[in-house]
């Protein structure tokens, strides 16, 4: 019975992540459109896009190897697997034991690795350019991410995401250090923008050859392969947003597996990530994309913030 319940929860989380991610992408697009005084596409447009792409015949470059066709599945799999490791609407996620926050970060890195390879495989200059830039952005984001995670892990005394979220939600067993929390949050937010290819690091809406990163790597993809890649990008965005809302503001998350708690958990979760998506939409409209060689400064400041969070944590605790 217990096992069935746990398996049920895993599938519920899986379906929620798969179903919600296009919606989040739609929300960001809508917000940007409204801020540009456009009406914008409907919120279900990303779903329609995906369905259409899946139905189309893919065109594969004849210079590619099996890496090119395998990469979309690997990227999709690694992103979904990462999403299943973290608490989404219930603080004790069943697959928590399978990997902590480091495992999540490295699973996403697996996706990045194959994305870089996929960008190189078609042999066009654009793909290589995207891969090369993705490599530097991912490289600079990772130390900041690990440090900010550690700062949070320290407050909960654990690097297991479920434990961190559960303890923050109930405010028990936590060492409260608000400045440390805020700085880690800021660092993590910058990392989120960088890792998910958002303005000011990358612009998901552009196909202008000189500025694209993520889109450049996907340039040769079409049909179902493109659909999987786009969907994986959406899920990755959702994974980062979930991390932000659940680690820094876990209130409302279900702490036990009763139907009412789960219903509240799901509803609150959807509202929180949608709210965060609105914020990202606003930020994307307010800022211009940075030049590539200004990105290190941005990510460097994220690193410093995370380091300060750590220092504050230790000094405040005395």
């Amino acid at each position: 019975m217990q096992v069935m319940l746990q398996i049920g929860l895993v599938f519920m989380q899986l379906i929620l992540l798969l179903a919600l991610s296009p919606f989040i992408v739609g929300v960001i697009r809508k917000v940007k459109a409204r801020l540009q005084c456009r009406r914008g596409a409907s919120l279900v447009q990303p779903y329609a896009d995906l369905a259409k792409l899946f139905g189309k015949q893919p065109v594969i470059s004849s210079t590619t190897s099996w890496i090119f066709t395998a990469a979309p599945y690997i990227v999709f799999a690694s992103t979904v697997a990462a999403g299943l490791l973290m608490p989404v609407f219930i603080s004790h996620t069943p697959l928590n034991f399978a990997g902590n926050i480091i495992a999540l970060v490295y699973l996403l890195a697996l996706g990045t690795f194959f994305l870089i390879l996929a960008g190189l495989d078609a042999g066009s200059a654009f793909g290589g350019m995207g891969s090369s830039r993705e490599a530097i952005v991912a490289t600079l984001a990772e130390p900041a991410m690990i440090l900010s995670i550690l700062a949070i892990a320290l407050t909960a005394g654990s690097t297991n995401l479920s434990t961190i979220v559960h303890q923050s939600a109930l405010l028990e067993g936590m060492v409260l250090a608000p400045p440390a929390h805020l700085m880690a949050l800021a660092a993590m937010f910058i990392v989120t923008l960088a890792e998910t290819g958002r303005v000011p690091v990358d612009n998901p809406a552009t196909h202008l050859e000189l500025t694209m990163i993520h889109e450049a790597m996907l340039l040769e993809y079409s049909g179902r392969y493109l659909a999987l890649m786009e969907w994986a990008a959406g899920i990755k965005l959702l994974v980062f947003l979930t991390l932000l809302v659940n680690v820094f503001a876990p209130w409302g998350i279900a702490t036990s597996a009763t139907p009412s708690a789960l219903a509240t958990g799901v509803a609150v979760y959807v509202m929180k990530v949608a709210g965060l998506a609105v914020i990202i939409g606003v930020i994307e409209s307010m800022f211009a994309k940075l030049r590539l060689f200004r990105v290190p400064e941005l990510l460097g400041s994220a690193f410093i913030l995370a380091l300060l969070a750590l220092v504050f944590f230790y000094t405040l605790r005395g």
């Binding site: 470059s61 210079t63 690997i74 690694s78 399978a98 490295y106 697996l110 530097i136 690097t159 179902r224």
Partner: protein
């Protein structure tokens, strides 16, 4: 056990002698490599036996020479390293059957095979030696054989210089090891390791610190720790590839063995706090600089050699963290750090040897080591490509492969610094964790480059266009190591108990039960509450999610067959010249970290006479400053040469003068003695 040891010695000795008795290269190759295969198989059995044995196997043959006994001791630490050496030795020997064909004609295959056996034997004896004198002898034999192997192709440019550099550095290192042993021997009056282990009276504090540093320098020179790493990227790539695999995969591990033996065994784990911190800092420094230079390297084998510097650094992070925890009496965490370091040791042996064998296959097929000349090889060499990919994913520490498990364990032991009593260390260990994160991310970029630019897109040279897959024996050698990588990654429940037997005597605690929760399905450092991973479940999740993606694509896409077409080249036919090159790929990283790389770019242009808007020739040259060679080694070399120049005054070449020198020395000595 003794039988196994005898078999091992006999196989390697026969393998060393038999090939020299015949002159047919094919027979020489079969004899040498079959003996090596048999010897290393016995080595695997011996290593496993030694790990499970209740009592260490000891063999001792006295000799007439004072202080020297031919003592061997197979305790769990030695057994673990015998296992590692033999695993890689087996793969390299199988691989060599096919690979040495490349050398037939211009290098003696028999001598090469014979030296391979000698090299494997000397490494096995190094980790089993139980007498300081004997250790130094086999250590020296190992260094000399590897030197001879490095200069196998001495007619190629740069190989002799690489060999000489290696010879000098390794002997400087040996001098420091001798110094370490002399310090111990001075106190105990014996060169036996048993006496080092249980001295009548301990060394005074100051001498212990000196011994700490001499051991770190002596073994560090062999391991390639920054700043003693400079020889490694020249020497390792110069050797034939299966020898490079052994040198980078296991020979540098004998130095790790030496460090653990001296620190945890001879010092009995009595450390000052800054010893562990020094090891940790050196490790962090080596890891970061190693991977940074690896990224900029376009010679595939040099890239792998620099990456060995990185991985030795990562191993030292585990050992250093273990030492720090041990100082403060946190035995379980000390065992965890040491275990993580050892786990990375065997992982690195497997995947680095695999990658070197892969690089050897590329060299075999294309006769070049330059990544810029590769491209599109995955379609021409699918097996080599797959094996290389497995190695690349492992070394980039991506789940669900072996590198990830050990790096994850090292991360955890660094995070557990929360339990340390001093604020300084509490802050420094997370910073080291951040350096490790940066190293890991750079390694992802580095091996995405190494694999992507070698195997993907279109061939960038005629050699790459005409490459064909390598012979079966070479594929088996690589496949064996690829399978080891997968096993080491997916089955930590088999590896951790073995490693626990190695660390238990040094830390006094067994942590296998705690690290492996839920019947071994979950790896959790010390407590499940702090963190946990489950490699089989992660792998199953990845496969399941991939299957889900496939199912969705089938269901929604109705399985429409793909159409093949050329990549869009902006209206021009796509040529390999449009591809991103290795230089271009790493350009942003070079620019961001320019303080470290100090890149210089030289662009020479020659214009047409008619107009300066049309270029006739263009030469582009970019160069990275090797900081340590320029600022540390160059002044030393210049100083030495200047001193030698001065000393030339006393070398007049006259026999009478030299007799006078001898006479004067004799008089001085007599005066001193009297």
């Amino acid at each position: 056990m003794t039988t196994l040891l005898t078999v091992l010695l006999a196989c390697y000795l026969l393998g060393g002698l038999l090939p020299l008795c015949t002159s047919r290269p094919s027979l020489q190759s079969s004899l040498a490599h079959s003996s090596a295969v048999a010897g290393s198989t016995a080595g695997i059995a011996l290593g496993l036996g030694g790990l499970f044995a209740a009592q260490p196997l000891t063999v001792s043959i006295p000799s007439n020479i004072p202080y020297l006994t031919f003592a061997l001791r197979l305790d769990p630490l030695a057994a673990f390293f015998v296992l590692t050496i033999s695993l890689v030795g087996l793969a390299a020997s199988i691989y060599a059957y096919g690979y040495v064909r490349e050398f037939t004609g211009h290098v003696s295959v028999g001598l090469l095979g014979s030296l391979l056996n000698g090299f494997l034997l000397s490494m096995t004896l190094v980790v089993m030696a139980d007498n300081g004198f004997f250790f130094l002898i086999v250590w020296e034999v190992m260094s000399l054989i590897s030197y001879v192997l490095v200069v196998t192709e001495h007619e190629r440019p740069g190989v002799r210089e690489a060999g000489l550099f290696y010879l000098i550095m390794t002997h400087a290192g040996t001098a420091f090891i001798i110094l370490t042993f002399l310090l111990f021997a001075q106190e105990t009056g014996s060169f036996s390791f048993e006496a080092f282990r249980h001295p009548d009276q301990r060394l005074p504090e100051g001498l212990r610190s000196i011994a700490f540093f001499t051991a770190l320098i002596g073994f560090g020179a062999k391991a390639g720790l920054v700043p003693l790493h400079v020889w490694l990227p020249y020497a390792h790539p110069a050797a034939p590839s299966h020898i490079s695999a052994l040198m980078s995969g296991v020979m540098i591990k004998t130095a790790i063995y030496g460090l653990i033996r001296v620190y945890f065994d001879f010092f009995e784990g009595q450390f000052l706090w800054w010893w562990g911190f020094t090891v940790l800092s050196v490790g962090a420094f080596s890891a970061l600089l190693g991977v940074m230079y690896a990224l900029m390297e376009h010679d595939l084998k040099s890239l792998l050699a620099f990456s060995s510097v990185e991985n030795v650094g990562i191993i030292l992070l585990g050992i250093g963290a273990g030492m720090i925890f041990h100082t403060y009496g946190l035995d379980e965490l000390a065992a965890l750090g040491l275990l993580a370091g050892l786990y990375h040791t065997i992982n690195h042996a497997a995947f680095k040897a695999l990658l070197f064998l892969g690089a050897g296959s590329l060299l075999f097929a294309t006769h070049t080591r330059n990544i810029e000349q590769y491209g599109g090889l995955l379609r021409r060499m699918p097996w080599t490509g797959l094996c290389f990919l497995i190695g690349a994913v492992s070394i980039a520490a991506l789940p669900p492969t072996s590198g990830f498990v050990s790096e994850w364990l090292i991360f955890q032991s660094l995070f557990l610094s929360v339990q340390l009593p001093t604020l300084f260390l509490k802050l420094m260990l997370p910073i080291v964790a951040a350096i490790l994160a940066l190293t890991g991310a750079l390694a992802v970029a580095c091996f995405a480059k190494a694999f992507g630019l070698s195997f993907l897109a279109q061939p960038r040279s005629p050699q790459a266009r005409h490459a064909v897959e390598v012979p079966v024996s070479m594929r088996i050698g690589m496949g064996f190591l690829a399978a080891s990588c997968a096993l080491l990654g997916l089955a930590p429940m088999l590896v951790v108990p073995l490693l626990d037997r190695v660390t238990a005597p040094f830390t006094g605690v067994t942590i296998s039960d705690k690290v492996l929760a839920f019947d071994g399905w979950v790896v959790a450092p010390v407590t499940v509450e702090f963190s946990s991973i489950s490699m089989p479940v992660l792998a199953a999740l990845l496969v399941g999610a991939g299957g889900l993606g496939l199912a969705i694509a089938r269901l929604l896409g109705k399985g429409a067959p793909a159409r093949y077409s050329r990549t869009w080249g902006c209206g021009l036919p796509l040529t390999p010249r449009m591809e991103y090159t290795a230089t271009a790929f790493v350009q942003p990283i070079k620019q961001v970290f320019e303080t470290i790389y100090q890149p210089t770019v030289k662009l020479e242009r020659e214009f047409l006479e008619q107009s300066k808007y049309f270029i006739r020739h263009q030469r582009f040259h970019s160069h990275i400053e090797p900081l340590f060679e320029k600022y540390v080694y160059q002044p030393v070399v210049t100083g030495l040469l200047a001193a030698a120049e001065r000393l030339r005054v006393i070398q007049a070449g006259s026999l009478h003068l030299y007799l006078t020198y001898i006479f004067l020395t004799l008089v001085l000595l007599l005066l001193w003695a009297g």
